[in-house]
Each structure stands twice: as C-alpha cells, then as structure tokens.
Amino acid sequence: MNDADDAPSQVWAAPAIATWAGLIGIDIPAACLEGVAVNLQLLAEHNKTLGTHSLEELEHDAGA
C-alpha cells in the first residue's frame, strides 16, 4: 500500500497480499485474495488522489 503510487501491478499479486496481511495478523482466505486485491487497488487510487499535504495544509495544521 505504501508504494502504491508507482508500484508495478504485480505488487498486488496474491502472495504479496497474503504476506502483508500475515505481517499484520490477518489470515486472508485464499478465496478472498482476488477480491481483496481489487479493493486494495481502488484504495491505492484514492490514496493517490488524496496525495500529500500542500504547503497551505501544513500551515493550516501549524496554526490549528
């Protein structure tokens, strides 16, 4: 997920997802891996749209 912006599509392959899930304590059933991959890709696209903080936002946060 962290590298989603520029990562090649194979990062979403089932073994990678299962590995990442296992690291955080989630045992994803094999039948779910394809569906989870599709949804992770969608979240990656939203993460890209959200982007990083603009200077204006950093100033806003500093002033908050």
Binding site: I17, N39, N47, L50
Partner: protein, 464 residues
C-alpha cells in the same frame, strides 16, 4: 398512505384509531412487499400493541404526542428490543437479542409513533445499492427493474411504495441521500452527531448519522423535531443560495442540472460556486471509511470471514490492511476541507447540488458511468454525497418534481447546525412546485402477481 402529520392529527382528534393505520400499513406490506423486498421483518404484534396503547391514551383523554399513531419502519441496524440487530448480515441473524430499543425508537414511541417493520440494507451498511446476498435486493417502487439505492434502500422504498409515511435510516457516506434520490422521497442527513446514535449498529464512527425519510417536507421536519427533542424556531429570513459547480456538475444527468438551474431562476438567481478539492475529499472519505470499517470488523473477519457477503468482506479486508499513516493523512485533510466549506457559508446560507449523478441503475446491470468508465453502483453512487458527509454538514435530499419520469434528487446543504434553514428553503421550493414526491407509474402500487403469501417470501428468520 396518509401523510404522517395528517395521521397524527386524525388520531389525536379521535377521528381514526392508531390501530386502523397500523392495520393498513401491515396489510400493505403483506400484500405488496413481494415486489420490492423493502422489509426484512414485519413486527405485527408489536405494532398492534403500540397502536392499542396510543388508542388507550386517546380514550383516557391523554395526548400520545406529535406522531400519534404514525406507522414507521427502521433500517435493520437499529436495536429493536427482543430481536437480533442484524445490520443486514446473515452472520448476525442469531445475535443476542437487543435488551432495549435504540434511543431514536424510544423518542418516536414517546411521540406516539408505531413501529411496524425493519427494513433491508446493504450488509453492514457498506454500499449504495441495497444488494444483499442474504436478504435480497430491494427494488425501486418507480421501476422494479431498477435499484432503490442504499444502504438504507429498504427504508426509502417502504416510504416510496406507500407502506409507511416515515422511516429511519442511517447515512455514513450518502446512505440516506442516495436512496432518497433514486426512489423519489425526502431524506435528512443531519449535522454529524446531532441525532442520537445509541443502539445503532456502527459502521464508521467519524461519519455515521441517523435520519428520517418522508414524502413531504412537513413530515420530514416533524420526524426531525421529535428526534432532536423539540421544534426549531422559525428564522423567516430569505436564504442566500448558491449552486455547487465543478465536481458536482461533471457528468451529471442533464435533466438534474436543468432542474437545479430552474430552481435558481425561480428564486431570482443562485450563483455557481466551487468547493475546492472535492475529489480529494471524496478519496479521503473513501479511505477513512475503509480503514474504520475494516478495523471495526477485523475481530469478526478473523473468525468468520467466509460468513460475510463476499463483496462486503473483500472491501473490509482491504480496509483493514491500510497503513495508519494513510488514515491519519485523510483525517488531517478533513479539517482543512471543512474550513474551505465554512468559507463558502460566510457568503451563502444554502448550497444546492445533485444527490446522485444519474437515475437508479438497473438491478441486472448495477453499474454507472463515471469519467467515461463503467464502475459498480454499489461503491460509487455516493460520489456526490460523500464529500459533504465527510465534514459532517447537514443535508436534505429532496426529489425534483418530475411526474412520469424516474426520480432524481437534489442536495440542499447547510453549515453545521443549520438544519432549520434547510427546512425553510425546502418548504419554499415545495410550495413553488419545484420539488416534491410523485406516485410511481400506475401498476407499481397494484397488487398484481401477489398471490404468494408474504410469509412464504420472507422466510428468513422473522421471529414473530
């Protein structure tokens, strides 16, 4: 079904009994819900007991309250005493029964209303379609080949079909406003946290709210006032109105944009204004929803992943895998986006924009076109609602008055805590004949092909 305010007036004056209205609602559901699948549990015994209690109060010279004898239903995520709160999930169909009613149900009952049914929804409220793998798809009373929208689709369809004049739903990213738009009824998404969430199955605490559906502004206001604890003062001021442009007009049904422009003309003008960074707001809402929903369900997903609706499960699992840094960045962006919206409210009291980009998609092909691509309606119908609930703004979804056509709704948006201004503006538009409910085409209400017994159709665990 008679409007709620007329039912209450008739019952309070003793012209009709609450029991007669409860009978009527129960009969309508039994006769016609096979077409729509709006209702999951018909609470006949409870409804008759509550109605009889109202009638006994009247007979004793008492006043049951402003919703005396008004039948209503609730989305299947409100606690109903003695029943499992399913939240639309098969895996909760044998959950421990609720010890008491949700606070909102308490408030409606104390105002004299009569609970008759629970209503269908997307599993765990994660969807805009009311396509439910266990409880079935809720169909649109204006065209049963089309979706009712979701996730509060059963509550919206029950009002649109005329089973009840009022219902309750919940809205996290648009789950009241989307089905209200697609089924042609009114819906209120209140200011975040303004109405009581006690006894409501959660989804995303940062955005979850409850609200009513109704067939008129008067009935919507009546329900809102009961839920908020009393009537709101009338401001009497003429609101400064603007139309939201940019994101809120891109790719939207031209008829809907024309309807909004007609409203602008009719009230003497409403400038087009832009809310900056809406695309980012929608994405941030999407990410926070996935992360909070995933975190909420993770303990159960670890044990019973295969018991979920696959479409819900895979979304929740993906959300549970999001790094905290993504969630925190989305949440930080929210405060900036709220400030930008509040800047607009310095100059405008009411903002108007579409509620959905299109009419209801078909059940057989539940896709919508966004940016030249076809995407699943279940995840994307809330593209115009999500950025507004992201920052907790109050919104009334109101149907454009367009008899003979499929419904399309507008959002009437205000600053936090300013619901009353929205109601006053909606009342004006309704009086002008610009918004309002209209009946489904002849035949959709007709009890054709209804020979199958209601209980044969709804054979999925009604404990009554």
């Amino acid at each position: 079904m008679t409007p709620a305010h007329e039912i209450a007036a008739d019952v309070r004056r003793g012209y009709r009994t609450a029991r007669s209205f409860a009978d009527q609602a129960v009969a309508a559901i039994r006769t016609s819900d096979r077409r729509y699948n709006a209702v999951t549990r018909l609470l006949e015994q409870r409804a008759f007991a509550e109605a009889d209690r109202v009638d006994a109060q009247i007979a004793g010279g008492g006043d049951p309250g402003p919703l005396a004898g008004v039948p209503y239903c609730v989305k299947d995520l409100f606690d109903v005493e003695g029943l499992p709160t399913t939240a639309g999930a098969a895996l909760r169909s044998d959950a421990t029964p609720a010890h008491s009613d949700a606070k909102a149900i308490h408030l409606l009952r104390d105002a004299g209303a009569v609970l008759v049914a629970t209503a269908n929804m997307d599993e765990f409220a994660y969807g805009f379609a009311t396509i439910n793998a266990h409880y079935g798809t809720t169909r649109n009373p204006h065209d049963i080949a089309r979706l009712a929208g979701g996730s509060s689709g059963g509550s919206a369809a029950a009002v649109a079909a005329g089973f009840v004049p009022l219902s309750l739903g919940s809205d996290t990213n648009g789950s009241i406003r989307v089905p209200a738009s697609l089924t042609g009824v009114y819906g209120l998404k209140p200011t975040h946290d303004a109405l009581p969430m006690d006894g409501v199955f959660p989804f995303v605490a940062s955005f979850d709210d409850i609200g009513p559906f109704a067939r008129s502004v008067a009935d919507l206001r009546l329900a809102w006032e009961v839920l908020r604890g009393g009537p709101a003062p009338i401001s009497g001021e003429i609101p400064r109105v603007a139309r939201l442009g940019g994101w809120f007009r891109d790719g939207v049904d031209p008829d809907l944009l024309a309807g909004i422009d007609r409203i602008a003309d009719a009230i003497g003008g409403a400038p087009l204004v832009e809310l900056p960074d809406v695309a980012r707001a929608r994405s941030a809402a999407f990410l926070m929803t996935a992360a909070e929903g995933g975190a909420l369900h993770l303990p159960v997903l670890r044990e019973k992943a295969m018991a979920y609706d696959p479409a819900t499960r895979d979304r929740l699992l993906a959300g549970a895998m999001l790094p905290a840094s993504v969630y925190l960045r989305a949440r930080e962006f929210r405060s900036c986006f709220l400030d930008r919206a509040l800047d607009l409210f310095e100059h405008h009291d009411v903002l108007v924009c579409p509620a959905t980009p299109c009419i209801a998609p078909t059940v057989d092909d539940p896709m919508i076109e966004l940016g030249g691509k076809f995407v699943p309606a279940r995840a994307h119908l809330g593209i115009l609602t999500q950025p507004l609930s992201f920052i907790g703004l109050p919104v009334i979804s109101a149907p454009l008055l367009r008899p003979g056509k499929m419904p399309l709704g507008i959002q009437i948006v205000g600053a936090p805590g300013c619901e009353n201004r929205l109601f006053e503006f909606a009342e004006t538009l309704e009086r002008m004949g610009l918004i309002g409910t209209f009946p489904p085409p002849a035949g959709e209400f007709a009890a054709t092909n209804l020979h199958q017994n209601w209980d044969d159709h709804h054979d999925r665990g009604n404990p009554q």
